[in-house]
């Protein structure tokens, strides 16, 4: 039976982890490679890096991080943040990323998704949808949540599937950072709209939220950052909890 995946996400800025795990035995708490290794050794089903480097001159730092991580972690590695073109995707894959998540570029020009999925295969193209609720619909935000495009998120999800995306990473902008749980309605609506896997993101504060994302939101995978970062829960604890709730996980 296919297992639901737990994906810890690390925010990386200028090649360093922001909000990392505070383990006493960690030599360098800001080193993304070490943090990723802790997650993969702890049973993470995949690792996700979100590059939040703001300045253009430091953008190359992520490539070095990906290259080093992929030599130490042997579970799938997804990299997102600031991916603008097919060339960016190609470079990340060559450095050892297994999947690349595309956000703003996919909204601005869906041809990037069409072209890259044809060139590299749908399996490595993840489209990241950042959505915020507005009355009875959800609208897509780009540029790290600063720009409202007014595009309907549910319809956009269908369009991205048709363009060749292999997975959708859906983040609720309303919930992100709040720790009150995923936007279940958004997750389940997108999940029933498309036939490709949906990864739920944004708002996890406790282990029950992960359960809800899968059971109620119908997500294939759940992504979380802070509950793992601050050592509130380990990936292993999360998996054991999901297992106790009857959710199939890899233990």
């Amino acid at each position: 039976m296919l297992k639901n995946r737990i994906i810890p996400c690390l925010d990386v800025k200028n090649g360093r982890v922001v909000k990392g795990i505070n383990f006493v035995d960690l030599k360098d708490a800001g080193d993304p490679v070490e943090q990723a290794k802790i997650y993969s050794d702890g049973g993470a089903d995949e690792i996700c890096f979100l590059d939040i480097t703001a300045s253009n001159e430091n953008r190359d730092t992520i490539y070095d991080v990906v290259e080093k991580t992929s030599k130490k972690c042997f579970v799938p590695l997804t990299v997102g943040g600031g991916v603008r073109s097919v060339d960016d995707i190609s470079r990340l894959l060559n450095c050892g990323a297994d999947k690349v998540s595309i956000n703003t570029a996919a909204v601005q020009n869906s041809e990037v998704v069409v072209e890259s999925s044809k060139k590299f295969g749908s399996q490595c193209i993840v489209v990241a949808i950042d959505a915020k609720k507005s009355n009875d619909k959800w609208e897509i935000f780009t540029h790290g949540g600063r720009n409202n495009t007014r595009i309907d998120a549910i319809e956009f999800a269908g369009k991205m599937q048709d363009s060749g995306a292999g997975e959708l990473l859906v983040t609720s902008m309303d919930r992100d950072g709040t720790q009150v749980g995923y936007d279940i309605e958004l997750m389940s609506k997108i999940s029933s709209k498309v036939n490709i896997p949906v990864i739920a993101s944004g708002g996890v504060g406790n282990l029950d939220h992960l359960v809800d994302g899968i059971k109620l939101g119908n997500a294939s995978a759940v992504l979380a950052a802070s509950i793992f970062h601050y050592g509130k829960h380990s990936v292993k604890e999360a998996k054991e909890y999901l297992d106790s709730k009857g959710i199939p996980v890899r233990i």
Partner: protein, 208 residues
Amino acid sequence: MNVTIVDYNSGNISSVINSFKEVARDKVNIEVTSDLNKIKSSDKVVLPGQGSFKSCVDALNNISGLVDTLNEFAISNKKPLLGICVGLQMFADIGYEETETKGLGWISGKVSKIDNQNGNYKLPHIGWNEINIVKDSKIFKDIENNSHMYFVHSYEFVPKDKNVISATTDYSSNIVCSVEKENIFGTQFHPEKSDKTGLKIIDNFINL
């Protein structure tokens, strides 16, 4: 010993390279090349493959003499070869992704889309799934039955002769996920992304 990973523009193969280098350390030399002479003289060959069946077959055919060299290596000389993902699928006679495309024909059978049971199952089949070992395969030495492996695919290999199947996995149907026919091995899952168990399979292949 030389193990060659065939680099034929089949998509992203850096993870395959990293994992083989991790397992090989200094004991085995890992070559990544499409050089025909290097392939001929190597002890083992790894045939990766990402993207569609058609794009991989086209990429193989684009390198003059490569298919003949692989035929000579695996069929005439019977040296060990491991196909991963579409690398395994290409063993078939024919594939139906994008359009009908002829495969290498090493293991009789076809590659067709996984039946998603009227949309009840998501495709691609992405994530960790258990393998049911149905035949003692040399690459499964010290691998426990029901181990988890990482999958990502929408098409499946359906071999004619069921005796070549070494493992299956349960999704919308029973999917063939590993084959062994004499010196030819293949996995539908990605051992290079399947953590320690996956690396053990790579180690088993290197140590054949």
